[in-house]
Symmetry: C2
Subunit: 366 residues, 2 copies
């Protein structure tokens, strides 16, 4: 496979902590329900999985936000739960609800039956990656992704989202042996899945540990972080001689930044509760930091969005402009964009990140 040369490498440079002319920006769930053109495609596809499993539709919606906004990266349109679906759990999305598994994993027999899935069952994802990469034609890099082993386990046991994670935590506390067995399989499956995305054309990969933050201190390290590390240890470092950066995002993980700073990854994603200056102090500029505007800021007026963007960029502090590596931020929201977001407000955000971060570099503080 060969693809068109990359025209905008700002995101990849920032992942590698190299200097950039501006702070790159992309948004979690940037291809999504807040865009009328997305809703139109989804209506044609009939269902979320109908959309995600169709190469043409997945390509179409992935590129939609790039037509509107000067984003510095694209992210594969898919779901974090494709891997357990391929394990046979039967993923579906009822309209207006979250994901649901027809066959949750709740006992020893079900866990003993779990296997790393045949990657052919995920062929639709790899085909979408290649198709999107072609369609991007070098405009911006393409990010592939997966849920983390722990986050997959939450949904696999609960069968759906949860308020209290009672079922999965009951298993964790009462049968830690079963939980570890499931997490090992999940980690190996996620690693194989992300490696196949890299082979198919993904230029960076992100692990979404959406539910790591619900774990107790101690349990997080044993049941989430350790298995994220197990994924990272198996990932390809690059493809065709080009490095493929790895991003790890634990929602609600700000308490554990010191430990997360030891992960073998390039970028840590942060939610809005984290103070970026403190995060830099804790991680010690060994990683680029990605985040962390509250998505609800996008409901305010344009001037207020601009001012909150400035607060986030100022809170990270001066990006480096010289040779070699140094402090590096990738602007993002602290969580997926809300379906209720006015699309015009996203343009205000993206443009504010670009213009203010350029100005910061032009006039460094004393």
């Amino acid at each position: 496979m060969s693809f068109a040369p990359l025209q905008n490498d700002t995101f990849l440079r920032a992942c590698g902590r190299l200097s950039t002319t501006h702070t790159p920006v992309w948004l979690m769930r940037q291809a999504g329900r807040y865009l009328p053109e997305y809703r139109e495609t989804r209506a044609r596809a009939g269902s979320f999985m109908g959309l995600a499993t169709n190469t043409d539709y997945a390509t179409e919606v992935t590129l939609q936000p790039l037509e509107r906004y000067s984003l510095d990266a694209a992210i594969l349109f898919s779901d974090i739960l494709t891997v357990p679906d391929a394990m046979g759990l039967g993923l579906s999305f009822a309209l207006g609800e979250g994901p649901r598994f027809a066959s949750p994993v709740r006992d020893e027999a079900a866990i003993n039956a779990l296997r790393v899935p045949d990657l052919d069952k995920l062929r639709y994802v790899f085909d979408a990656v290649t198709s999107i990469r072609r369609a991007l034609n070098g405009r911006v890099p393409l990010i592939g992704f997966s849920g983390s082993p722990w986050t997959l386990a939450c949904y696999m046991v609960e069968g759906a989202g949860s308020d209290d994670y009672r079922l999965v935590k009951t298993m964790l506390y009462s049968r830690p042996d079963l939980m570890h067995r499931m997490l090992e399989i999940n980690a190996d499956a996620v690693a194989a899945y992300l490696n196949a995305q890299i082979d198919a054309g993904a230029q960076a990969v992100m692990i979404f540990d959406s539910w790591g933050g619900v774990l107790a201190d101690g349990a997080f390290q044993q049941f989430s972080l350790a298995y994220t590390a197990r994924v990272l240890a198996q990932l390809k470092r690059g493809h065709a001689g080009v490095a493929v950066p790895r991003i790890v995002f634990t929602k609600g993980g700000g308490m554990w930044l010191q430990e997360m700073g030891q992960l073998d990854c390039d970028v840590l994603g942060l939610d809005w509760t984290v103070n970026l200056a403190r995060a830099r102090a804790q991680v010690g500029d060994r990683k680029a930091l990605q985040g962390n505007l509250d998505p609800n800021v996008l409901f305010a007026a344009p001037e207020q969005i601009e001012s909150e963007v400035h607060v986030v960029l100022d809170s990270f502090g001066q990006p480096h402009t010289g040779p070699g590596t140094g402090p590096s931020q990738i602007f993002n929201l602290g969580h997926g964009i809300s379906q209720h977001t006015p699309p015009d407000h996203v343009k205000v955000l993206v443009d504010a990140v670009h213009s203010y971060s350029r100005a910061l570099r032009a006039a460094p503080s004393a």
Copy 2:
């Protein structure tokens, strides 16, 4: 008013960071749906508010867990949202659902109409406090409580629980002036409410900032912490010559412990994501720490509950045993107990806290 002398002052001593023979323990929502006798009383009362507004019922259910377990404190049976109810918002609880306000506060006119409520409308709470204190007859101290100004504002604007706090955050980011006005009124109302509970017999008071943790760094300090401080500044320091300790609990607030350590309160409540040793380092033993077992541990087997209790007590470290003040823990869950908890498991927890914490004091580590 005069009450029977206190027989078990372990909780109050621990609040004051004085040495104790064991680590005191109580549980958030210890009077609640997991107890069959509670469900029986609630059925007689007809509704949650029917229960909370009836002095006899409120007294009965507050004392129920003390009959089963050797808890070191009682907490008033009530709801965190009684204050906005008294402001005229119309609180109700549909069976199996969370609280709901009939008249949420969503615009400038509604905020301009808000007032610190007439405390007579909350007379049922103060009557319950006095009745419970009498019924306790000095067994253990009684804790009064309220929601924090920010947590009240969340419910007042959203009208109910929320996944994303979109409405309240939209107001916060687009009309910070309105949000500050509401928070000032809430803070003054909460202070008056807690002072009246102290007058009625509450021996400690707790501010539940259940939703502080959903705020962005920066917004938390401005819109939650500042108004918790405004409440604390107005609180009575004691009653009839006896100190009344103040506890502040921000769920998801572990990121801001340094700032919270500056609050004029005696105890900080912590959820299970917080490492107690780190919390001690950050707060510097200026406060007692309350917490922080994951309530889901109570679904595991008795030996596992005991072992997780030991982990939490060990993670806090050696309590002081000498004269004067020193490091001090109050054992609790990191959040309210689940309605699905097996009542027998709570006994295992309470007894494990007492016996292991006694053993720790008897054989201090080298």
